[in-house]
Symmetry: C3
Subunit: 652 residues, 3 copies
């Protein structure tokens, strides 16, 4: 498949007289996909039942005339004001018990069944009206589920939904009391209708109570999406249904929602993500205008799995945005680099957000490909260049399968938010640290679901800080013949958020004869050096009772890395240096080939080509790899924000 550029466009924001010129310009840039519609409900149905789809069809006609394909976003993230008159209780309630108001977006409660029915209605009407339009090439459901903290609502609707969900899960109140450990503080319920939501309590809820609420809330997002998916697939079984996820919004399980999607997409804003990350100041300063060199890639690899192999960038940052605490101007070339990196990781489409900067409303400081005065902004030219380069290089196919797999699990994110035991301890940080350590060596990585059936084909698989095993994963581990790195805290809980009877990491003794008998959690600034080779442990350490070999231990003689055959257990959170050391050790053990990359340079293989990108603030010089036969784009000397494509010997 040849990848394509796209753009997000809002014909309803602009005079109809200008649509033609816009479409022509898009085509000139080389754009092939245009997403429209997802905020237009008040123009599609200005008052209840008054359907105004003509303008939409005219807009699609115009785009189609210029050879552009349309992805239509269902408008359910922004119901019009009159909807609140019909369903005043469809507005979500925040954790402090306050009903949220109308006047921005995502003003609905996933648990509100009346609003879910309204979404069903409008999506059906739209599918009927535009489903056969020749320009239509796909659907987007809603927009950015969960954005602005909208996964959770503490409303009466959520409460009654939660009680029903619990009854379905546990059957009897006795089973729930047992599962949650309610005897602990006399928290035992007599009936399901006594159960409350876990907000506004005197102190923390039982962790299983809190976790079940998060599972419930996640399930509502999936159910909400399924309603639209079912209608859209019925209307056009041949067209893909897509949702645009947000990175680092982990309040619901993206794998679950994607069960009713054909393609996963995500909205990539690299600068803001770095600014709000926990990276040290010097890293933030170094990559201020480029973004973290591993963060976008991580999400590319994640959403490739979420999307069952098919994924897009639905919104790509084109310049400074409006929503950061600060909003830097990207380094010239980054709008090109980010697109190329996405394609390298297998993106089918990279769609810039947005066509023209809107001079009004909330996002008026968000750059587009055009300035508000319709002149080209820098990204306009960079997009044009990418389109030309795509044609010139002929990149196609799909992303290469990685040789390393890393399990990322949403439930583990929830679990350690509920019970960090050390402030700031998260699943994702452990996953990303290992990801970055492998990627520095030019290794291609796949992110894996916690329900992965088999690890076959991977040289190394890593599972850090995983909440609880499931049977599928246990089987995959038991059957895996490669090297396996299991990280701190993995398997330290049962599905019901209790400590396993045999204690963590709760693996069969033949795989790993070890029990975590004590946890030491301290301020991350307090480091304990690790013997023989550098690195330090901090934040989290486990005292282990084990018969496995101790490969690394810290200066206080706590084990850090154990091995039992090809299974390795990392018993602590480590500094970057230690994580790198452990990863290097595994790479050596597994005899995995690596590349020597300059600092700031990263790469990924697709379609017989290796795509290099230079995130560094200055130039870098590549060392050609043995499997490369020459350059399709760029060369060994990479400027800042440079892109180089090397052709591989093994390619067809």
């Amino acid at each position: 498949m040849t990848p394509a550029l796209g753009v997000c466009y809002y014909p309803e924001h602009w005079p109809e007289a200008g649509w033609e010129r816009d479409a022509a310009s898009m085509a000139e840039v080389g754009i092939r996909i245009v997403r429209i519609g997802e905020f237009a409900w008040s123009r599609l149905e200005p008052t209840p039942g008054d359907l105004q789809f003509d303008w939409l069809i005219r807009a699609m006609d115009v785009l189609g005339r210029h050879g552009l394909k349309v992805v239509f976003g269902t408008p359910t993230a922004t119901p019009p004001r009159w909807m609140i008159d019909k369903h005043p209780d469809m507005l979500a309630v925040d954790a402090r018990g306050q009903r949220k108001g109308f006047g921005s977006r995502r003003h609905y409660d996933f648990s509100h069944l009346g609003y879910r029915a309204e979404c069903q209605r409008i999506v059906k009407l739209l599918a009927d009206a535009i489903g056969q339009h020749p320009a239509l090439s796909g659907w987007q459901t809603d927009n950015e589920y969960g954005c602005h903290g909208t996964t959770y609502s503490y409303s009466p609707a959520a409460l009654s939904g939660f009680r029903l969900w619990l009854e379905q899960r546990y059957g009897t109140i006795e089973a729930l009391n047992e599962a949650w450990g309610n005897v602990f503080w006399s928290m035992e319920y007599n009936r399901f209708d006594q159960i409350e939501l876990p907000n506004l309590l005197v102190c923390e809820a039982a962790p299983a109570h809190d976790l079940d609420f998060r599972r419930y809330a996640s399930d509502q997002v999936a159910a909400f999406n399924k309603v639209q998916f079912d209608i859209l697939k019925q209307a056009r079984p041949d067209l893909p249904v897509i949702h645009n996820f947000m990175s680092r919004y982990t309040e619901f399980d993206h794998y679950d929602v994607a069960e009713t999607l054909d393609i996963a997409s995500w909205d990539s804003y690299p600068l803001g993500h770095l600014a709000t990350s926990n990276e040290p100041d010097e890293v933030k300063r170094l990559y201020l205008r480029q973004g973290d060199p591993d963060n976008a890639a991580f999400h590319h690899d994640l959403y490739r799995t979420v999307g069952h192999g098919r994924w897009w960038i639905m919104e790509q940052q084109p310049g400074p945005v409006n929503w950061g605490i600060f909003n830097p101007d990207p380094l010239p070339g980054m709008a090109r680099l980010w697109a190329w990196e996405a394609f390298a990781h297998g993106a089918e489409v990279v769609s810039y957000f947005r066509w023209r900067q809107a001079p009004f409303a909330q996002e008026q400081m968000h750059a587009g490909l055009l300035r508000p005065d319709s002149e080209p902004a820098p990204a306009y030219h960079e997009a044009t260049q990418v389109a030309e380069e795509l044609r010139a290089t002929g990149l196609a196919g799909i992303a290469a399968k990685g040789r390393v797999g890393i399990v990322f699990d949403y439930q583990s994110e929830w679990a350690w938010e509920i019970q960090p035991q050390a402030r700031g301890f998260t699943h994702g940080a452990h996953v990303r640290a290992i990801y970055a350590a492998f990627r520095k060596h030019g290794v291609d990585i796949d992110i894996l679901s916690p329900h992965t059936k088999s690890f076959a084909g991977y040289d190394i698989v890593a599972i850090p800080a995983l909440f609880a095993w499931n049977e599928t994963l246990r089987t995959a581990i038991a059957e895996f013949e490669g090297h396996l790195l299991i990280g701190p805290r993995s398997g330290s809980k049962t599905e019901n958020f209790s400590i396993p009877a045999a204690l963590g990491p709760d693996l069969p003794q033949n795989l790993l004869a070890a029990k975590v008998i004590r946890v030491d959690s301290v301020d991350p600034q307090l480091e304990v050096e690790v013997k023989g080779g550098g690195g330090s442990v901090h934040h989290w350490r486990e005292r282990i009772e084990t018969t496995a070999e101790v490969v690394i231990e810290d200066a206080e003689n706590w084990p850090v890395l154990l091995s039992q055959g090809k299974l390795f257990y990392l018993a602590a959170s480590g500094s970057k240096a230690l994580v790198q050391r452990v990863v290097d050790y595994l790479i050596a053990e597994a005899d995995l080939p690596t590349l020597a990359l300059p600092a700031g340079v990263r790469c990924r293989v697709r379609d017989g080509m290796r795509v290099y990108v230079n995130y560094g603030a200055g130039p870098a010089t590549l060392t050609p790899a043995a499997d490369e036969t020459g350059y399709v784009l760029g060369g060994v000397d990479m400027p800042a924000a440079g892109v180089t494509l090397a052709r591989l010997a093994t390619a067809g």
Copy 2:
């Protein structure tokens, strides 16, 4: 006009037997004005309709007998508890939706028309009862509008008022939808009664929505004041109506409120203002017991304009106060210095707060001229000295007109709070930075309203970080023949909070041929050096498309200062050094005379005298200026907290 000292006095707090002695002591100090009454409603009307004005008249009699003039403060900032029984919904509602309670002060909602009528009633009754009292010399309306965050209320009264205000402003809902850009996220309304207040939303409101709410709230303060003004002027057309504003409380437009005032006054607490400012720690330490050397002066110059040329200090800090996070003891002499500085800037009255420290209730740790045991506190002696020095020096007249004008605009404060784009970006900080840079050279400055009709008479005018032009200001700019410095972000929006069609700074091309085509906002700690001469840009930079001359550019070749004739455009926020460099450049261009002042020393001219004040923690030595003919008070050697008055050759 000969300036006078005043004091704030609460006869209702003290036994009547002591009033006579208090009045006699005030007269001994040299006090001429006494403000009373503004917190006394529960004593003036203990139960509804039970008017008890006799004690007040007796108190005024006592004061009058000692030659003291009374300013009577209407008691509307502290309605008695029974008023809440009558109007339970007059209590304001906070942004989280909670009704505020009775038990402190300012417990009313500016939008509540029932309470506004109660204020009309009590003010009329008081005007009738004491309006002709021979000691009466003026009125204060209410007390410190906006203090404790009381400008905004999110109540049903505010909501219905806001809807009505919007209907009056926009006429049709279509016009409002257009002005706010409501199509953006399907935020379009069908009717005015669907509009909500901009609190408790899922994410931010449309900026025009938020700005209109602030305009509405500001208008309510003005309307509230007008009710009292109309009554008081009708009762005594000859007496001034005054309000005591708070510095840095910018939630409402002080210029607008002052349309129904004869004199502006403000309450000056220099130490707390420094402590809560953004100044670096070393500045806070240096001026811990003196206050920022430019802050009080800035407000003097501001309120002189707010008051149409007439202004007072209604409350002057006399010692440590109670409301700071910390409450340092001022350096000996500061209560004198602050008074002198106010007089130098044109104050008619400086009134100390308060006569005697109250041993009870919320402000018991707030110093007075007397200690709680009625012994003189240090400021008692300093006030006595000021009174003597006023007599001895014969200072009179008004403050000299400045040669530099700087525009300060409340609406711009609201706009950048709503949309900072870089955390901490404010209009006021830019204004004050330029103010301080001019003032270090001994230049007299006027603060100008954004509705100033003409800049004639000024050598230099500065307009930094202004939200949007209005026609008056555009005309003033076009007609101005002096040097004009327009600052970053000025004119970057229309009145409806959109980006202008021609982009910012949105001035006619013949004045400034420049467009801001991109904004780069970063953490203020990240500085980019400026070429040739020092200083750095940080926080905010603009990429400019221009044919104007680039006077200064930064190390990354972004333009910093442009010039087109006598119009200069500053395209970035700058370090202190850069702002000083730009100001110095303009001073040189305009050939403006300056003084060489020691660090910590500032000055202002009034009535043919130059008043020097030494904010430094140690002594300073003046260099006599060419236009000075000798010293009326003090001399070239200034101790810490010292005051020197030089007579000017040009004086009459």
Copy 3:
């Protein structure tokens, strides 16, 4: 009395089949006391009126068979869910006005009389059912009053209770208005039913209003406890009634609550207390795994007084816990050291929390003597060692009376929270600083109530930062013949939270001829050196008008330490070095004997033995004291976490 070890046990959490083994193991460890029952209400009364006490009696039977004595905790801290159905308004309301929910613990409002009656009912039923059980040896009322911020509720029940309490206190509304200074801001009430709670106001309430609300809330805790005490004493006059207090939870007056207790106990978690303290980072790092060397001891000495001489540790940290931001593993030996230190200070019982780590619910990461898999955790062995050492050393008797007394007053904690005047100014910090300075010299200290009738027997008494004198304390001071150190801000208020007519410190002139005429409060980082001998003042300084001798003054000539005969007045908050200097000066003046202790080592005398504990992270060497005749346990060389018992020559 021979001290004993105890443990907290929850038979309802474990299968009945395992109780016997648990009891046998406890006896093997040497445990003699087992606390049970305090979270078991849902098992004792699963539905209203369905009493299920049989299992409890069987559990007590099992424990009794193994020679274990039971302390039964009344289950009133965790009413079952059905109780909320009966009394929906028994849930407390937070300061933001939100009703708290069911699902954790302490979900009740102390002001709710309906719930108080339910507690009376269940306690009576339990006293009837188990009061004569042979294993029963005492009662605990409720659990950790005030934990999780539960002293205050802003509910209708609290409001009506507060109004009644005020009416009883003041008699007439005029008296209340006078006491609170309500004239200040027209806050005068016409009737008691107009008074509101001091939350959600526009700005701060009158301090007397706030203080009275805290007094009211504290009285409700005492009243709540008295209900249970009366029943339990009537049932078994011979058995002690105990409550387990929390350190640093000072929202209610522990002395008052203890008026209906026979024994005070407290729950000691040294690591978390250090982590949340204001100690500098280097101290936190040094004592990360040991706790502050003076904090547990301070509370031991406090609760000895609260308990009228009798006190326990009801919950002793046995390993890492779950509730800290971070939860470090204690240094090996600390579970032993903490127990020994408690015994040295007179503890009758040290009871570890808990027997077995629970694998479920909120505290699953809280260590026990057993791991969740029932294997011994490190503290199991340390407890066994302590039990053996108790037998071997024969320690008995009571803690020696201290030679130094320091007054600690809950009301002063409330007062300075209400009106810090310098952020972070607290009573307790001043008390603890003086405590630590004396204790570094090996001096035995008693903490004294502010209602102490006589200081006879003490060499030195210190009273720092005390809100207001009471007549008892004034008499004790006047009659005291030893050295008296009165600290900054003491006596600076009347009981009604006003400044005394004669100003602070408000002592008779013959005791101390001094008036505080001004307070200087600054950021604690701003220090002023003190002349001649080191140390500095910071945070709080008082300008004094005095005829007393100035012993120490600061570099700016403010008096720091005054003396008049044997009364010393400290007019500032001091650095550690200054507090030590002042304490050393008093020790010298009073000719008090001291010991030379290594850093990190502390000691206390009980029963003719001096118990040394080494809090240091490394070994320490003792210098034998002149009064010691040899070692009963350990010796001069103390390892980290070491304990040494020296026999005293003067012992019987």
